[in-house]
Symmetry: C2
């Protein structure tokens, strides 16, 4: 304990050295035409905070990110994408050589069935968009996961948070899910703080108090290190 | 000419002093549910550049802006909005007391007919969104415009640029329209430069070379000052 406290004064524990961590962050955009798109709210702050914390603890970090206003954390390999399918391809390419995946992105889960090559003129009073489901990246990773790989997901919900989070944990073969009610004050999109519950594979759970996303990033990595 | 050149060394001409200018910038977002939205690509750079340039020339500037990553120019009154209807209300409130309106925003011109109060669960393979036309703010201002007010619009197109821009100029009762082909390299969204054509109320037009948006902002204000 004394050594731990000393290290926390001197800098971060290097408990993720030689670990390859893949993190996703931000929202994705699905083009309707060259100017219009369907987007998903996500500032990217949580994913970027985890990427920064993981580098501080010695990990080799790849960050696959949708459009955000954030600067890339120093020492992180950043892969910028726009659509969910682009995120999927980047994640699948990196996955076989990855120890830990943390999917903090909030991807657009439906995309227009067709993308118009030119700007749609607003001639009609109504416009009907047919959307189709995007591939479920987390579920795909859950199916591919090897015993030596860890898969961590996020559930951002507006209602029935724990029910949906528990379902997601089981159906997608996750080791841990970070559940947050994005409608709560001090949590969710664009906030610098978050309030989350952690649900584990073994059925146990943990409720964390409101904290800065930078601090929460380290707590999440503490929990992940305890599985490694 | 010598005085002009001298002033351009010393600072900007104060040729917009006592003018009240209303500028719109950025794209708008139309919520589908609490996490998903329909967005319009626009970095806001052109509108912010005009706002900055107008303040430098002595104008009293109000900037109504959708979400962007840009810092508010010093000396500008900023009104942040998210949806097209919010932009409409802000613009209509300021309009009666405005000398010059420059609408550089690229608003979402369709919005979902209904906004779901809770996050839509992705249970179905397809999702049909019915969109309805948003109010046409520029056209509304064109109808309200007094003889002492100037109304400047932008046309961002991917094809048949001049045809659409000319139509827009006439139908919306504009004094000038700035037409740009957003698919051209060095023009459009997120670019720091732009390539535009200016179409005037009297039927004349002008083609400008590729230039920095900051420089273009001053050229646009030069043209506007020539009408005042």
């Amino acid at each position: 304990v004394i050594v731990d406290r000393l290290l926390s004064y001197l800098g971060h524990k290097k408990d993720l050295q030689q670990k390859k961590i893949l993190i996703t962050a931000g929202g994705t955009r699905e083009p309707i035409d060259p100017v219009r798109y369907i987007g998903n709210r996500s500032s990217g702050k949580m994913g970027y905070a985890i990427a920064k914390a993981a580098v501080e603890r010695g990990a080799e970090v790849t960050l696959v990110t949708g459009p955000t206003v954030l600067a890339a954390p120093v020492g992180v390999k950043v892969i910028a994408i726009e659509t969910t399918e682009q995120m999927r391809l980047a994640v699948l390419a990196a996955f076989p050589d990855t120890d830990i995946v943390i999917k903090a992105a909030a991807v657009a889960d439906y995309r227009p069935t067709e993308t118009a090559p030119q700007k749609i003129k607003k001639t009609d009073d109504t416009l009907t968009l047919i959307l189709q489901k995007n591939p479920d990246i987390l579920k795909e990773l859950g199916g591919l996961k090897k015993p030596n790989q860890l898969l961590i997901g996020f559930a951002a919900e507006t209602h029935e948070l724990l029910t949906y989070a528990r379902q997601k944990l089981v159906q997608k073969n996750l080791d841990m899910i970070v559940a947050n009610d994005v409608t709560a004050p001090g949590a969710g999109f664009n906030s610098d703080t978050n309030i989350v519950k952690l649900l584990y594979r073994n059925g146990s759970s943990e409720e964390l108090p409101q904290m800065e996303k930078d601090k929460l990033a380290h707590v999440l990595l503490d929990r992940i290190c305890s599985f490694v």
